[in-house]
Symmetry: C2
Subunit: 339 residues, 2 copies
C-alpha cells in the first residue's frame, strides 16, 4: 500500500507537504497542492489511520457496546447512535456482549487497546462497575445507555422504567386482571429492579397483595430454552395468573412461545404485555401491549452527551431520562367478570 513517502517522492516534495495537503493544515501553494493531489489519485493513496492515531492520540472512532444485537430496541438504538456519530465525523464500532460479563470484559479490553475516543455503554449488570472503573482509570470517556450501575457517577441516557411498568400494569388491572405475573430480567440489572418496582407500585395502588410466587427472574435475552410456565398454569383456576407482564420484549416472546406450546391463546386464555416494543414487527402487525421507549433517541442523545464529555471532561455528569409511551393492544384482553 502506498505511503505518504511514495507520494512525496513521485510529487517531488517532502512527506510533510503531502501530510499538509491531506489534512489541509499549514500553507501549501496551489501548484504544489494540485500536483500532490494528482499523484495521490494516481496511486490510489489512502491515509493510514493507524499511524495517524498513534501520533495524534485520537482515532475518531467511538464504540457502542450493547447486550443483545438481536433485540430491536438495541439495534434501533444503534442506528440512532450511528447516524449521530456520522454527522459529527466519527465512526462507530459495535460490540455485542450477549448479557455476559465475560464477553463484555473482552470488548472492554479491545476498546482500551484500540484507543477509541469514547464509549456508549449498555452494561450487562451491576458487576460492570469493574469495567467502568477500568475505563475511568484509563481516561476513556463513556456514557451509560439504558441501564445504571450503582456506585458509578457518570453521564447516562435512561428510560423511565418504573413509571412505564407501573402504567402498563395499571392498564392490565383496569382490564380486570388481579393476578398478574411478572417475568423479569436479572436483578443484577437496574432496569429489572425498576420495572419490578413499577409493577409493585401498580399492585399496591390497586390494593392487590404482592405475591412473590408470581414473580420469575431470568435473563433478558429470553432465549435460554422456552420458559416453563407450568408452575403457574397448573395452579387452580382461582390462583392461576390471568395476565403476565414481561420485563422486556424478548421475554414476552419467550412467554408467548411457551403459552402457545401449552396450547393456550393470547389474549383469550392469558393476557400479555411487556416493556419495549418490536420495531418493524409491531409496526406491521400490532399485537403486543407495550411500554415503548424511544430507542433511536437513546442512541442519538448518548452520542451527544459523549461528544460533549470528550470535549470537556470537567462538566458535572448529566442524566437524561426519556419517557416511554404505553400502547395497549390486542395481547391484553378484558377479563370477564365471571372468571
Amino acid at each position: 500500500m502506498a505511503t505518504i513517502y511514495d507520494i512525496a517522492k513521485r510529487a517531488n516534495v517532502s512527506a510533510m507537504t503531502v501530510s499538509r495537503v491531506i489534512n489541509n493544515t499549514g500553507r501549501v501553494s496551489e501548484k504544489t497542492r494540485t500536483k500532490v493531489k494528482k499523484v495521490m489519485e494516481e496511486m490510489h493513496y489512502i491515509p493510514n489511520s493507524v499511524a495517524r492515531c498513534l501520533v495524534t492520540q485520537e482515532s475518531k472512532i467511538l464504540s457502542l457496546l450493547i447486550t443483545d444485537i438481536t433485540n430491536p430496541f438495541f439495534t434501533t438504538m444503534a442506528r440512532g447512535a450511528e447516524d449521530a456519530a456520522m454527522r459529527h465525523g466519527y465512526r462507530l464500532m459495535f460490540g455485542n456482549s450477549d448479557e455476559s460479563f465475560a464477553k463484555e470484559k473482552d470488548y472492554v479490553e479491545m476498546i482500551l487497546s484500540m484507543r477509541v475516543d469514547g464509549v456508549l455503554f449498555s452494561p450487562s449488570g451491576d458487576r460492570s462497575r469493574e469495567h467502568l472503573e477500568w475505563l475511568t482509570r484509563q481516561n476513556v470517556p463513556f456514557v451509560l445507555l439504558d441501564r445504571e450501575v450503582p456506585g458509578v457517577e457518570c453521564d447516562a441516557v435512561l428510560g423511565d422504567s418504573r413509571i412505564g411498568a407501573q402504567q402498563v400494569v395499571r392498564e392490565m388491572i383496569r382490564c380486570g386482571h388481579r393476578r398478574i405475573a411478572l417475568v423479569n430480567g436479572s436483578q443484577d440489572v437496574s432496569t429489572a429492579r425498576e420495572r419490578q418496582a413499577g409493577y409493585t407500585d401498580a399492585l399496591q395502588e390497586a390494593g392487590i397483595q404482592y405475591n412473590d410466587q408470581l414473580v420469575m427472574e431470568t435473563s433478558y435475552l429470553g432465549e435460554h430454552g422456552p420458559l416453563s410456565l407450568a408452575h403457574w398454569m397448573d395452579l387452580a383456576p382461582g390462583q392461576r395468573p390471568t395476565a403476565i407482564f414481561a420485563a422486556n420484549n424478548m421475554l414476552a416472546l419467550s412467554v408467548l412461545k411457551a403459552v402457545r406450546e401449552m396450547g393456550l391463546r393470547v389474549p383469550e386464555d392469558l393476557s400479555l404485555a411487556c416493556f419495549d416494543d418490536f420495531g418493524w414487527a409491531e409496526e406491521a402487525n400490532p399485537f403486543f401491549s407495550v411500554a415503548s421507549q424511544p430507542a433511536y433517541e437513546f442512541g442519538e442523545k448518548g452520542i451527544q452527551l459523549l461528544l460533549e464529555r470528550i470535549k470537556n471532561q470537567d462538566v458535572p455528569p448529566r442524566r437524561i431520562v426519556l419517557p416511554c409511551s404505553v400502547h395497549m393492544r390486542q395481547s391484553v384482553g378484558q377479563l370477564q367478570p365471571v372468571q
Copy 2:
C-alpha cells in the same frame, strides 16, 4: 496510559523483555516473567494495539459490512460471523450501509484506512464492484455474503434465491393462486434478479402467463413510506392479484402494513409470502410463509472462507451455496374455487 517503557523501567528490564512477556515469544526467565507480570498488573497496563498493528501489519480485526442492521437476516448473520471470528482470535467490526452506495463507500474507506485484516461484504448492489476492486487493489481479502457482483471473481457465501423463490411461488400456485404479484428489491442486486427468475420459473411451469403489471421494484429496506398497492387492489376482481410474493422479509412487512391500512386481511383477502424469515418474531408467533435461509451459517461460513483466504491468497475462489427451506404458514390461504 502506561506504555511498555513505563513497565520496563519499574521492572528494571528492557522494553523488549516486557514485549516478550506480553506475547509469550522468545525466552524469559520465570523470575523476570513474574516480576514483569506483577508490574503490569500494578500499573493496569493494556497493550496499545494501534502501535502493535503499525509494526506487525496485522490488526486481528475483521470487518462485516451489511446493508440493513434492522433486518433479522443480517443481524443473525452478524451473530454467526461474530462467534466464528471470536473463536479464531479475531474481532469483528460491524458496518451498516443501509443499502446505500454512498454509505458503503464511506465504510470501505474506513476499512482500508484502518488496515483490517479482511472483510465480509454484503454489497449494496452491482455498483459495489468499484469498492471491491478497491479492496483488491489494496490487497485486502474479502468474501461476499448473500449477494454476488457481476464481474468480480471471489469467494462467496450465497443462498439459492432462484430455487427458493420458485418453491414458494409454486406452493402458492398449489393453493390455487394464479394471479401472484411480486414486490421485488432493486434489480441492481443479484438476489432480486434471482428471485424474480425463480418467480418466473414457477409461473412458467404452471403455464401461467408472466405479467409485468404484477411486478413492482423497490428497495429491500422496505421502509420508504408504506408501499402503495392501490394500482393492484383497485383492479377488477378478475384481474386483481390474490397473492403477493415479497422478495424479502422487510418488503413483506411493508406489504402487510399497506394491506392492513387498506382495511384488508391476510390471508382472507390476500395471501402473502416472502423470502427470509423473521427470527424471534416468527418463532414466537408463526404467521408468514417464507423461504428461510440459514443466516447464522452465512456468517460462520463467511468467516471460515475469509480466514482461509487470509492465510493463503492463492487458492482459487470458492463459492458456497446454502439451501433454503420453505415453510408455508398462515399468511397463505387456500383460494376458493369460486373466486
